[in-house]
Subunit: 187 residues, 2 copies
């Protein structure tokens, strides 16, 4: 089995001793599977005026373009995680500059921590999780083929502060930016 | 059993199919226990010139003073989590202002997301996880009885920007602040 749904295994939902919320508990051994939000770390990576994007080789949204980003692993910092993801997905050695934003994707319990980063030399190639990796100018970005709304948000938030050395990081997109991102994802 | 260590149950370490890292896998049913860093959400809460601190009623660091903060739960935003923790630990209805900092505590795989927040009315009391809750002026803060280095960092980072409406959030403490925080924790 490759499912990550506990109910596909020997788990039932109950409130463990000393807890206040229902959790998945193994009916055999009593192991409590605590689920907490997962951190996604990634970055808007630029080389000169172009943006590094990866075409996803894996589900969900296989074939769509995304930023180098993925689940943070144990014992690394958020910045280390963002650099590792760029290595894994794009064989790219990036330099993290600063925090761009924190996006809360509550329906899938994700906290996405996104940085601004630079690719000093235009050296990259598709990692195992990418079909293709490329640098796009702003106008060349395949806007109708982006994988997730937060990719759209991060690119636009990046553009809003592109000439600023110091800025307050963004939260979830609002207004027109939010609306447009969801319209694009529905196409 | 109440342990959260998978090796106390029927788990062994192995690399699952399609993965690159070793994970805890149940020897009975094949359930893969993916461990990812946990998000702690909290805030430096002030009422006028005083800081809201909670004396911990639970381990670790029982009896020491901390900020209202704790593990983020599923389906909430980081801001909602920080407000919930203030309710649970201090029966305090706080108003989140802005992001103070992101601290990476890699040896325990925690990402701590800390906000600035205000307690509009000085109404609070000890929640189940607190022995005592109180407002302290800066000079009254029990510096030698703080629970964690990040509590020390967050209070000092707050003070650095107390008169600023917009600022770049902090990362881990460096230099003297880092050194002093660990010296205090050893006492």
């Amino acid at each position: 089995m490759t499912s990550t749904d506990p109910t596909d295994y020997g788990f039932k939902k109950e409130v463990p001793d000393g807890d206040s919320l229902e959790r998945h508990v193994c009916t055999d051994c009593g192991w409590v599977h605590y689920e907490n939000p997962k951190v996604v770390v990634g970055s808007v990576v630029t080389h000169e005026d172009r943006f590094l994007l990866c075409k996803r080789a894996i589900h969900p949204r296989k074939g769509y373009w995304t930023l180098p980003a993925g689940y943070m692993e144990q014992k690394e910092t958020t910045e280390e995680g963002a650099r590792r993801e760029a290595y894994e997905e794009a064989n790219a050695d990036i330099r993290i500059l600063d925090l761009l934003g924190i996006y809360n994707v509550t329906h899938i319990s994700q906290v996405q921590i996104m940085y601004r980063a630079v690719l000093d030399r235009p050296e990259f190639s598709a990692g195992e999780e990418s079909l293709e990796v490329a640098l796009f100018s702003w106008d060349e970005i395949p806007w109708d083929e982006l994988a997730f709304p937060t990719v759209y948000w991060a690119l636009h938030h990046f553009r809003d502060v592109r000439d600023q050395d110091r800025f307050v990081p963004f939260g979830n997109a609002e207004g027109e930016l939010l609306k447009t991102s969801f319209e694009i994802m529905k196409r």
